[in-house]
C-alpha cells in the first residue's frame, strides 16, 4: 500500500516550529555553570523528534543537519562533552537555521544550504575534537554489519539451530511466529529439542525450555533468515549453516548442529504459508485504503492555498458540540410549542426563549474561545530577542514573563506582536542603563524587564515594565517645544508630558542606534494599538523606570456598545470610550469664540459635539440643555457628545463598512440590532476630526478659558 506522506507535512511543520520554540527557550534558560539534565533532555528530545519526522517525511536536508546537532546534544547529555557559552549560541543559530529550512520546505522553495553547511562544519570541528567515535560512524558500522557478509543466495536452503533464552516469551516474542515467517521464505521443517525441559515440579510455565532444529528449503538469503531472528539473536543461541546437498541433509546437519547429543523426542511439523481468502481480503482493504488516500490527498491540495490553521484544545470543541446539542433541544421544544400554540403555553414559551438566549450566548462565548490563544505565543519571541539585544548593547537584563496563559484573540495577538517588540526594544535600549551606570546609581547591575498580561473587565491588559532610568521629562518637554508640539507657555502635567512621546514626529534618541530609533516612532505603536480598538499609556518615575500599559479588547469581532438615539437614528458608542454621561444645566455650558460650546466639568473644558449637527439629521432636542451629554474619550481628547437619549447596552457584532462600502469618517462599522434595523458604530477619533475639535482646538479652548479664568 502506498500512503501519500505529504498529507502529514503541515502537522510536521507545525510541531517542528513548536519543537524549535521549545529548544530556543530551553537554550536561553540554560545556566552554563550548572547545566540541568532535564533542560538538555528537553532540547535533545525536540531535536530528535524533528530529525525523526524530517527523515520519515522525506526532508533529507533537515534530517541530516539535525542529526549533527542531535549528536552533539547526545554527547552533552551523556556528559561526554562539556557545554560552554559559545555552544549555546551555536545551537541557537542552528535553531534558526532549521526553522529557515522548514520554512523553505513549507513554502516549497528550494532549501538554501549555505548556513547549514557552515554550522555543520562548526559542529564537525567540535565533534572531531572530541575523540569519541561519533554515532555517525557507529551508524556506518551498523549499516555495514547489516549487509550480508556472504551471499549464499545460491544455497539450497538453511539449517538452523535455535535455542532462545528462557525469558523469550516475556518479551512478547513467540518462536512460532518466527517459524511462520520462515515458512514464508520456503518449505520449513521444524524439530523440537526438548532435552532441557525440567521435571514438572521445577517448571516455570512462563519460561521457554525448548530448542529447535529447523531446516529451510529454498532460495532464501542468509540476510532474510537473519532478519527473522533480528530481535532475539543477541539473547539466543543461533547457528545458521547453509544446506548444500538436498539429500541426507537432515541427518547430517543435525549431527553437525551443537547440543544435539541425544534427541529424546522429536516432533516434526511442516508449516505451509497461508494463502487464499485472507490475502484476498487484505488486498481489497489495501485497495480501498489507497482510494481513500488519494481522495484525501486531493482534498488537502484544494484547501492548501493559504490555509492558516489554528490549534484548538479538544475540550473546547467538546464544549461546543455539547452546546449545539442543547440548542437543538431548545429549538425542537420551541417548534413543538409553535405547532399548536395556545395562550396557556405562554410561560413555557417564555422559558424556551430564555433558554434559547442563554444557549446562544454560551455558544457565542465558546465560539469566541476557539479563536483565543494564550499570550505566550506572542511572548515566546522575547527571551531570544532580549538575549540577543542585551548582548549587542552590553547590558545585563533579566526578562520576567507573567500571565503567559492569559488568552487573547488570534488576530489581535498577531497584530500586537510588532508594537510589543517595539516597546520592549525601547525599554531595553532607552530605558535600561548600562551595568556600570546602574551600579553607580546603587541599582542591581542586572536590569529587569517584565512583561505582564492579565484580564481586566472585558479587556486584556499587557504591561511592559522596566526598572531603568524612566522618561526624562525635561528632555521630552524641550524636544516637544523644539518641534512645536507644545508652546513655550504650556503647563503640562507629568502624565501629559509623558504622553507627548506618542505624538507623531517625536524621538529623543540622541543617536539612532541599531536597535531602536529607526524612524518608526511611538506614534506608530499607538496607532497600531488603536487600530485594534485598544489604547496605550505610559507611567514613569525618573530613575525608577517606566510602565507601558496596553489595553486591548478580547476580540475584534464583537464590541460592548452603548446604544443612543438622535431623532429617529440609533447609534452605538464603544463602551470602553465612554467616560460618563450627564444631564447639564446652564452654568456648565460656556460659549467660546468661533461658536463652539464647551462644557466645564471639574475644571476641565470639554468641547461639545452635537451629533445631529455633524450627521445632519433632525433631532428631538437641538439644545444642550434638553438633551444628554455623553462624554467620550479618543486619542486622549475628551468630547461631550449631545444625544437625545441613552438606550440599552449590548454586545454588538461589528460589520465592516470599509470592506462593504467605503471608509466613512466618524463611523467605524455597523451592526444589525435585534429588531433588524442597521445601526452605525461611532468612531470617536474620527468624530473628533469630523467636528473639528482636534488637539489644537481642544488646547485653544482650555488656554482661552484658563486666561479667562485667570
Amino acid at each position: 500500500m502506498s500512503v501519500d506522506l505529504s498529507q502529514f507535512h503541515q502537522v510536521f511543520f507545525e510541531e517542528s516550529y513548536e519543537g524549535l520554540d521549545v529548544m530556543e527557550s530551553a537554550l536561553l534558560n540554560i545556566d552554563i555553570s550548572a547545566i540541568d539534565d532535564e533542560t538538555i533532555n528537553e532540547i535533545f528530545r525536540a531535536a530528535h523528534s524533528i530529525k525523526g519526522g524530517s527523515g520519515t517525511f522525506g526532508f533529507k536536508e533537515i534530517a541530516e543537519f539535525t542529526h549533527v546537532v542531535e549528536t552533539l546534544l547526545d554527547l552533552i547529555r551523556s556528559d561526554q562533552f562539556e557545554m560552554k557559552a559559545d555552544h549555546v549560541d551555536l545551537f541557537l543559530k542552528s535553531v534558526d537555521c532549521i526553522r529557515t529550512m522548514i520554512n523553505q520546505f513549507e513554502k516549497g522553495v528550494s532549501c538554501d544550504m549555505e548556513v547549514a553547511g557552515e554550522l555543520k562544519a562548526a559542529f564537525t570541528v567540535l565533534l572531531d575534537g572530541e575523540n569519541e567515535t561519533s554515532s555517525e560512524s557507529n551508524e556506518a558500522d551498523s549499516k555495514k554489519s547489516a549487509q550480508p557478509n556472504d551471499s549464499h543466495s545460491g544455497a539450497e536452503g538453511w539449517q538452523i539451530y535455535f535455542k532462545p533464552e528462557l525469558d523469550i516469551l516475556r518479551t512478547g516474542n513467540d518462536p512460532v511466529r518466527m517459524f511462520r515467517e520462515l515458512s514464508e521464505l520456503g518449505e520449513l521443517s521444524v524439530i523440537a529439542v526438548t532435552d532441557d525441559i525440567p521435571s514438572i515440579s521445577d517448571i516455570d510455565p512462563e519460561a521457554c525450555y525448548m530448542a529447535w532444529n529447523l531446516t529451510l528449503f529454498g532460495g532464501a538469503t542468509e540476510e532474510q533468515v537473519n532478519e527473522v531472528f533480528e530481535w532475539v539473536v543477541d539473547d539466543s543461541e543461533l547457528v545458521i549453516t547453509p544446506l548444500m546437498l538436498q539429500s541426507d541433509t537432515r541427518e547430517e546437519d543435525l549431527e553437525t548442529s551443537p547440543n544435539v547429543g541425544v534427541v529424546v523426542s522429536e516432533h516434526e511439523a511442516t508449516i505451509i504459508p497461508e494463502t487464499g481468502e485472507n490475502e484476498e481480503i487484505a488486498g481489497k482493504e489495501v485497495a480501498e485504503a489507497k482510494q481513500t488516500t488519494t481522495k484525501k490527498a486531493v482534498a488537502k491540495k484544494e484547501v492548501k492555498t493559504e490555509s492558516a490553521s489554528i490549534r484548538v484544545g479538544t475540550d473546547k470543541i467538546d464544549d461546543l458540540i455539547n452546546m449545539v446539542g442543547e440548542l437543538v433541544i431548545t429549538q425542537s421544544m420551541l417548534s413543538e410549542l409553535g405547532k399548536e400554540f395556545s395562550i396557556e403555553n405562554l410561560p413555557k414559551l417564555m422559558e424556551g426563549l430564555a433558554q434559547l438566549s442563554m444557549h446562544t450566548r454560551e455558544l457565542q462565548e465558546n465560539v469566541m474561545r476557539i479563536r483565543m490563544l494564550p499570550i505566550s505565543f506572542a511572548f515566546s519571541r522575547f527571551p531570544r530577542l532580549v538575549h540577543d539585544m542585551s548582548k549587542n548593547l552590553n547590558k545585563k537584563v533579566e526578562l520576567v514573563l507573567l500571565g503567559e496563559q492569559t488568552e487573547l484573540d488570534k488576530t489581535v495577538m498577531e497584530r500586537i506582536g510588532d508594537p510589543l517588540v517595539h516597546l520592549v526594544r525601547n525599554s531595553l535600549d532607552h530605558g535600561l542603563e548600562l551595568p556600570e551606570k546602574r551600579l553607580a546609581l546603587g541599582k542591581d547591575e542586572m536590569g529587569k524587564i517584565t512583561l505582564n498580561a492579565f484580564h481586566q473587565g472585558g479587556n486584556i491588559i499587557i504591561q511592559i515594565i522596566d526598572d531603568g532610568a524612566g522618561l526624562n521629562k525635561e528632555k521630552i518637554l524641550s524636544k516637544a517645544k523644539e518641534n512645536g508640539l507644545v508652546s513655550a507657555s504650556d503647563h503640562l502635567s507629568d502624565d501629559q508630558i509623558n504622553d507627548l512621546i506618542f505624538l507623531p514626529g517625536f524621538s529623543t534618541a540622541e543617536a539612532v542606534t541599531d536597535i531602536s530609533g529607526r524612524g518608526v516612532g511611538m506614534d506608530v505603536v499607538r496607532r497600531n494599538i488603536q487600530e485594534l480598538n485598544g489604547s496605550v499609556e505610559v507611567e514613569s518615575k525618573e530613575g525608577e523606570g517606566s510602565v507601558f500599559t496596553i489595553r486591548l479588547p478580547l476580540t475584534l469581532a464583537i464590541l460592548d456598545g452603548q446604544l443612543i438615539n438622535v431623532g429617529e437614528q440609533v447609534y452605538i458608542f464603544p463602551l470602553v470610550s465612554i467616560v460618563e454621561s450627564i444631564q447639564t444645566h446652564d452654568q456648565m455650558i460656556h460659549r467660546v469664540s468661533g461658536g463652539c460650546d464647551v462644557l466645564r466639568l471639574r475644571n476641565e473644558y470639554i468641547p461639545i459635539v452635537k451629533l445631529w449637527d455633524v450627521f445632519n439629521i433632525k433631532p428631538k432636542h437641538e439644545t444642550v440643555e434638553d438633551g444628554l451629554l455623553v462624554i467620550v474619550e479618543g486619542d486622549n481628547i475628551k468630547i461631550a457628545v449631545l444625544v437625545d437619549d441613552l438606550l440599552g447596552q449590548q454586545q454588538v457584532v461589528i460589520k465592516s463598512i470599509r470592506e462593504n462600502y467605503r471608509p466613512v469618517h466618524g463611523v467605524s462599522g455597523a451592526t444589525i440590532l435585534g429588531d433588524g434595523t442597521v445601526s452605525l458604530i461611532l468612531d470617536i477619533s474620527g468624530l473628533i476630526k469630523l467636528a473639528g475639535v482636534g488637539r489644537d482646538a481642544y488646547k485653544k479652548i482650555n488656554d482661552a478659558n484658563d486666561t479667562e479664568a485667570a
Partner: protein, 120 residues
C-alpha cells in the same frame, strides 16, 4: 480486528502511523507519552504496542517496563521505534522487555511489514 496502541509525542508521526495502520484494517489507539499510554493500556485490551523511545513525562523504555508488570501485558508484543544512532536504546529496550524494534526513519510499507511479522 487487532488493536494497536501507537505512542509517540510527535503528532505527525502519530498521524502517519495511525493512518497507515487503519488503512491496513487495524484498530488504533493513540497516546502522546508513556504515562498516557499506560493509562489507556490499563483500560482497554491492546494486541500490540508501538512506542517511540524519546518522550516527555514517561519515555518508551519506562513504558515497556511498566507494561510488563501488568498481567495482561506479560506477553503482548511491544515494538519500539528507534533511530539507528540509538544502539544502546535497543539493548535497554530489550532488557526492559520489548519484543523488537523498527528503525526510524521508516516508511509505511516497512511499518506494515514489521507489524505483520509479530501479528502474523
Amino acid at each position: 480486528m487487532a488493536t494497536i496502541l501507537a505512542v509517540d509525542d510527535s503528532a505527525s508521526m502519530r498521524q502517519m502511523v495511525t493512518f497507515t495502520l487503519k488503512g491496513a484494517g487495524y484498530d488504533v489507539i493513540e497516546a502522546e507519552d508513556g504515562q498516557k499510554a499506560l493509562d489507556k493500556a490499563k483500560n482497554r485490551a491492546v494486541d500490540l504496542v508501538l512506542t517511540d523511545v524519546n518522550m516527555p513525562v514517561m519515555d518508551g523504555i519506562e513504558l515497556v517496563k511498566n507494561l510488563r508488570t501488568l498481567p495482561d501485558y506479560k506477553f503482548t508484543p511491544i515494538l519500539m521505534l528507534t533511530t539507528e544512532s540509538a544502539g544502546d536504546k535497543k539493548v535497554q529496550g530489550k532488557n526492559a522487555g520489548a519484543t523488537g524494534w523498527l528503525v526510524k526513519p521508516f516508511n509505511p510499507e516497512q511499518l506494515l511489514a514489521t507489524i505483520k511479522k509479530v501479528m502474523g
